[in-house]
Symmetry: C2
């Protein structure tokens, strides 16, 4: 069913889609390639929500050459009038002959309707080429559309013996500058960062994306193009107060607690701070409810927290992925543990994780692990 | 000074030397290649102590072709009559023209004298090609000759968060069968294994090399060719007694304590058990003294022990290498720690380790780390 050209062109479309992963949210990242008589006549990708979709860039580039051409697109073309007119309509109007789609749209507003609109216009539509590969670009969007929950990644950094700090709390630095720059890139493609009050008290972090620390990405992404992730602080007992580095940076902050803050504390918050009360479970924030709340607007959430909170996301089966930066160091058994999990009785009770990527980042190793819940 | 042919031939000689690493001890592993007019006319490696040296195999294969040839040898040819006649003499008698040597012999009985004997006979001797690479094959022998101490490797196996067992002690199995087979190969090339009484009590291991579990090595090494490592059990308070799996296997065992065992306990030991009293330091066995004792006969020692004993070898600066089998699992903070080390005040106090090799062994990762003491 699929020719070598089909696979090559869809690979290129997926590569194009990946270019949008830092800027399209809450929209999915989509790429498109238009091919006529074996030649690429148009290509494009969705850059940002509200702007043209991938197909529109590719069609505009192709112009009259789109007539009788094949369009490759990583996600089913939309069929509805949103902030832009439907892409299926544009493909029809440009006289495209065939459309190859990697992933059908999980959005109930769109799913299957773009395909139907194309077929009704007499266009050949082939669906399912490189579906798995194309899905990787939009894991967050796809999960949110299907389950109303964001994709959850737990970021960890530890020594080879699984320690995040010496016994006295010293943790600067376990990983090297390249790994810390990689964390900046990781943050830059997430809709929200979640941390706990303990981390705020201990480290007083800014939790923002710093253009100067983006490394290789800084050439691709201008400072103004960075989407600062929503910074979410879990503060179940509403204890947070005082001057915080977090507040100094003018990008959205969401404080989450199980009860209200005193009015005099709230009066000190800058305008970019919002507050949300979430139900408690055993006097802690209900993480499932938190994710449902974030899932209204966020495709992906990065957990950057201590052993207790990060462990809770794993323990409760709420984690999709773990990104572990491992330093080639040994801190010894007195150091601080990576993840607080339940006591397990047998090896079959431990979290089921699968290594999907492993690479060197400076002197450290970055392991990406998929969690089956 | 070195031609491409020189480097190619010495590489081959080093590969040949590696073939002996399971069988030559306490001798070094040595390889030799004899080249005439660009053609290999002889090659060989030392197979076992008491048998012919590498040069003799290579010269016998070359026969008359050795005349006017170049001999590559990974370690300086011996000049003394031991169990075999001196190799330098054999090289001279066969009329070799030039000898290229990677490493000079650290054995005070031999060092430099082989080279002198060759030069005195008018042979061109070039020393120092691929020295670092050739040294890797004989790290234990070289260290023992220089310092009277064996090369010490600490073997560890843990989850990604540095745990060796669940909180209830369950550890079977963290790593997969391929990693456990790799441990068998690791044991097979060590002169001695060291463990602690706690491990014997907890796991009752046999601590032998099992031919059926050698994997790829089982084709290369017949059951009768396996050198069973000396099994050393540290039992500072002389508590060991009763039926032990260790005793069932008829290969040497050394029990080490700081005081004597009761006569009635000693009476139960099979003939292959020996006992050595080593001085105590703070009621524990003096590990430095232990290594000096083992260094009389052992090139290399593999520590297979729990967090306390393995940690002591690292803490006291007695470890040369750490081999860590890392399973792609997370056991959680309640699990058992990998290594008990001192409390460190700053990051500059932690052990200085360098990753020298990293590879997949089944689903696990094996990290080889060199320790600078």
């Amino acid at each position: 069913m699929w020719s070598i050209e089909d696979s090559q062109m869809m690979s290129l479309a997926i590569e194009l889609a990946q270019k949008g992963m830092y800027t399209t949210r809450p929209n999915p990242s989509v790429g498109s390639v238009i091919v006529k008589d074996g030649e690429i006549v148009g290509e494009g990708y969705h850059i940002r929500a509200g702007g043209p979709h991938a197909e529109v860039y590719a069609l505009n580039m192709a112009g009259d050459d789109a007539k009788g051409a094949t369009a490759y697109v990583t996600l089913e073309p939309c069929s509805h009038y949103g902030r832009t007119p439907p892409c299926a309509k544009a493909l029809i109007e440009h006289g495209v002959n065939r459309v190859v789609i990697a992933v059908t749209d999980p959005n109930p507003e769109v799913s299957g309707r773009g395909i139907a609109m194309l077929r009704d216009a007499g266009i050949q539509v082939d669906v399912g080429l490189m579906t798995t590969e194309a899905m990787q670009v939009n894991l967050g969007f796809l999960k949110r559309m299907e389950k109303g929950l964001p994709w959850v990644t737990v970021k960890l950094a530890a020594s080879l013996d699984g320690k995040t700090a010496l016994s006295n709390g010293v943790s600067k630095w376990i990983t090297g500058p390249e790994a810390r720059s990689d964390v900046q890139r990781l943050r830059a493609r997430h809709c929200a960062l979640v941390t706990g009050i303990e981390t705020i008290i201990a480290d007083n972090p800014s939790l923002n994306v710093r253009h100067s620390e983006l490394g290789s990405l800084s050439n691709q992404l201008a400072p103004a193009e960075i989407h600062q992730p929503l910074r979410v602080v879990l503060d179940s007992q509403a204890r947070l107060k005082g001057e915080l580095s977090l507040f100094q940076i003018d990008s959205p902050i969401l404080l989450v607690s199980t009860k209200d803050y005193p009015e005099e504390v709230k009066a000190t918050w800058p305008a970019h701070v919002e507050h949300q009360i979430i139900a408690a479970v055993e006097s802690r924030i209900d993480l499932q409810a938190l994710l449902a709340f974030l899932g209204k607007t966020c495709n992906s959430v990065l957990i950057e927290a201590g052993a207790t909170l990060a462990g809770a996301f794993v323990n409760q089966g709420l984690t999709d992925e773990i990104v572990l930066y491992q330093a080639m160091k040994i801190l010894g058994g007195h150091g601080r543990n990576l993840l607080a999990l339940d006591d397990f009785e047998t090896m079959s009770d431990i979290p089921r994780i699968n290594l999907i990527d492993e690479r060197k980042v400076g002197k450290d190793t970055r392991l990406t692990l998929r969690v089956s819940n």
